[in-house]
Amino acid sequence: MSPLLKSILSEQFGYAIFRVMTPLLLPTIGVAISGLSGAVNIALEGTMLLSAFVGVIVSAFTQSLLLALLAGMAAGMAMAALLGYFHLKLKADIILAAIAMNWLASGTTIFLMFLITGDKGSTHSLKSLVFPALNIPLIHGIPVLGPILSGHNVLTYGAFLAVFLFWLITFKTPLGLRIRAVGQNLDAAASVGINVNRTRMWALLLSGFFGSLGGLYLAMGYVSWFGRDMVAGRGWIAVAAASLGNNLPLGTLLSSILFGVVNTLAIYLASVQLPSEFIQAIPYLTTTVALAIYSAQALRKRRRKIREPQAGGAP
């Protein structure tokens, strides 16, 4: 068996998939839950950046993981709230406003980073904390599965917990029901007295919450520093992944797994004599292809409905 194939079928590969998936899954959930309400938050690229930065700074200066976690989450939710204010109250186009906020986050983090550390590239000079890895007691010992499933960063387990939370909120709480109703039929929701804007704001806050965890993982789970542009487009891939998964919990999990596997494969392929640029382009290329396939499918489904009338109507 070729060494490449061996390494792909190894436990390290399985382990790596989860690591790669975490900062994809979390923002995907964020995009999805806001998408369900009809006001999709595509500013998760910037949200993750901001939360990562805030987390690192707070952790470096307070040396408290808890404070860093809370600060990061607050930053993410604040950004989402700002987006909500501009879109829901000031009637800004949510796409343009989100693009603007992504760039605002990028500029602001570098700006502040320079002011605080004197460095525009990264916060290496700061001693920031890292979220711990967890060894799950029983699973740890199982051959094959153990090394794959155990020993992950707590935020990775958090990501899977987040999927469950997403499912729970969406299908088991009144808020989730209202979010779905608002996204499916605005008028229907309004006609039963639901405040559409407030519901959408809640969905945005939740998206900021989930997204912030993704950012915190990048700067405090993967590594222990913040670097400019460290999100590297994951927030945008999340937009595609969420629509591929139809904005639903199971769908977002599956599409994140898909992208996680592909991206991990890409990393492993680096050992092959392919230029690194090709490898690095794989995630973005596959996202584009997946988007095209998904859109074509959705279109075909709609067209088929018109061409094949049910026998219900009289001839």
Binding site: R180, S191, V192, G193, P309, G313, A314
Partner: protein, 515 residues
């Protein structure tokens, strides 16, 4: 009999100045089924919106159960016990029946969680209580419309509605489903509920209602016991009026059929059969009028004829050439013009200028462009010429469409379409929502075109217009042609009304012309 609802002297004027309700008074007896009928624009939908708190009248008062009330919002209406089933159902398609039912008043488990079990039980309970079977756990999008409507009714009942308003409920139902609905309504009446039923389908109205209120031109004409009125009487009350207009002089010679439609059918995305085996011809030198209340398939028919929608089956030929696969531009190049029913959606680009709007079908022709280059001076002159010819009130060819009044915008549309020198003109509701002066101009233009041997297909819900202009008249109801009048001399609204309202119907109607 006790009156559950009384409306007195309702005056409602829309922001654009249109008076939709003028001195309207309505008395609804408790525990009755009360119909409100009228043509498009008679004011019945507006009245219902007032009763449900969606609109506030400028004058008038409402008494509910004898007490004077102010209904400022749908929530207040619901709290009073008034429920409304809209024509376009207010349901979330991807949620289940139970979920839609409890939306806004969700039962909780603890304080955070949704008690779906309770929601399902409650839904089942309400369903059983009123004998309205609904599949509690199915998603709305998987249910036929008749069942969806039942869910909508249950929703209102669940919120303790005692007075139910149904807006054109049978417009989306098959005859069988309508029967089921009527059975439902009788059951609800037996439960002590009161129902207000808006419709233009008189046969149905007669079937189940106790009292009927007829509205016309923003006023209530009369309210009588259903038993006292025959369908023809109702139709007369709805449409019959002194129509003072001159009859058009008989046309000179009518030519060959320019447009041939054979067995046209169309099923839309919701699997509703919107057009059913429609066939007709339109000849040069005549105006073929298609009379019918809006929503009976005219919109789709016109869009299919102009290439904006694909037919499900059937054949359309212009001058013998089949046009099923042609693009809108190709159809236009066969000298076809289209005056659309929704001028703001299709007819104009509101933010663009007059001249930009006027040239959309001809900008690529030699007089207006050389190769890629647009010849703006020529375009401006052309537009100015149209402004004068068609009496459009606009400061200049560069004025934005959005700054013009509705009537003038329609004049722009008509000016553009008619100035392309078409041989076939397809006009849909061409004078909807415009002032009398503009309306008259449009009518004169259509007559002129007809006199110059053009073929004109006119779809309109305005009976006056149809009677005034048409050489032949087809009536459409529920997507089918139900009458063909080849001789129009002496026809009145009374003759057309019953067909438009589903009271009368001829079998196998075709608008074809035998040669």
């Amino acid at each position: 009999m006790e009156k559950i609802l009384e409306a007195r002297g309702i005056l409602l004027v829309y922001p654009n100045g249109v008076v939709a309700n003028r001195g309207v008074s309505l008395e609804v007896e408790k525990n009755s089924i009360h119909a409100v009928v009228g043509e498009n624009g008679a004011g019945k939908s507006t009245l219902m919106k007032v009763l449900f708190g969606m609109l506030q009248p400028q004058e008038g008062e409402i008494l509910y159960k004898g007490r004077k009330v102010q209904i400022r919002s749908p929530n207040e209406a619901i709290r009073l016990g008034i429920g409304m089933v809209h024509q376009h159902l207010m349901l979330a398609p991807d949620l289940t029946v139970a979920e839609n039912m409890v939306l806004g008043v969700e039962p909780r488990l603890g304080r955070v969680f949704l008690d779906m079990k309770k929601a399902q039980e409650t839904t089942a309970r309400v369903s059983e209580e009123y004998g309205l079977e609904v599949p509690v756990d199915r998603k709305i999008k998987d249910l036929p419309i008749g069942v969806r409507q039942r869910v909508e009714i249950l929703k209102a009942l669940f919120r303790n509605a005692e007075l139910l308003i149904l807006d054109e409920p049978t417009s989306v139902l098959t005859p069988q489903e309508s029967e089921v609905l009527f059975a439902t309504l009788r059951q609800l009446k037996a439960h002590g509920k009161t129902i207000i039923f808006i419709s233009h389908k008189l046969n149905e109205v007669k079937q189940i209602t106790d009292r009927i209120t007829v509205m016309r031109d923003a006023r209530v004409i009369t309210t009588r016991e259903a038993a006292e009125l025959a369908e023809h009487d109702i139709a007369y009350l709805m449409v019959g009026r002194e129509i003072s207009f001159e009859r058009l002089p008989p046309p000179r010679a009518i030519g060959e059929p320019l447009l041939r439609v054979r067995n046209l059918s169309y099923v839309n995305e919701e699997n509703i059969r919107v057009l059913r085996n429609v066939s007709f011809d339109v000849r040069a030198g005549e105006i073929l009028g298609l009379a019918g209340i809006e929503g009976n398939g005219q919109t789709e028919l016109v869009r299919i004829l102009t290439g904006l929608l694909p037919a499900s089956s059937g054949r359309i030929e212009i001058r013998g050439k089949p046009i099923g696969a042609l693009t809108p531009r190709q159809i236009r190049e066969m000298r076809t013009a289209h005056i659309p029913e929704d001028r703001m959606e299709d007819g104009v680009a509101a933010e663009a200028s007059l001249q930009e709007n006027v040239i959309v079908d001809r900008y690529y022709r030699d007089s207006f462009s050389r190769g890629l280059r647009l010849l703006w001076p020529a375009i401006s002159r052309h537009t100015q010429d149209l402004i004068e010819r068609f009496n459009i009130l606009a400061p200049s060819p560069r004025s934005t469409i959005a700054s013009l009044s509705g009537g003038n915008i329609q004049k722009v549309v008509v000016a553009r379409e008619l100035s392309s020198d078409p041989e076939l003109i397809i006009a849909s509701q061409p004078t909807r929502g415009i002032d009398v002066g503009s309306e008259e101009l449009v009518h004169n233009l259509l007559k002129e075109a007809r006199d110059r041997d053009k073929a004109i297909f006119l779809a309109s819900a305005d009976l006056d217009e149809i009677l005034k202009l048409s050489n032949r008249i087809l009536v459409i109801y529920n997507g089918e042609l139900v009458a063909h009048f080849q001789e129009v001399a002496g026809l009145t609204g009374q003759d057309l009304g019953p067909y438009m309202l589903g009271v009368q119907k001829e079998e196998n109607v075709s608008g074809e012309v035998r040669s």
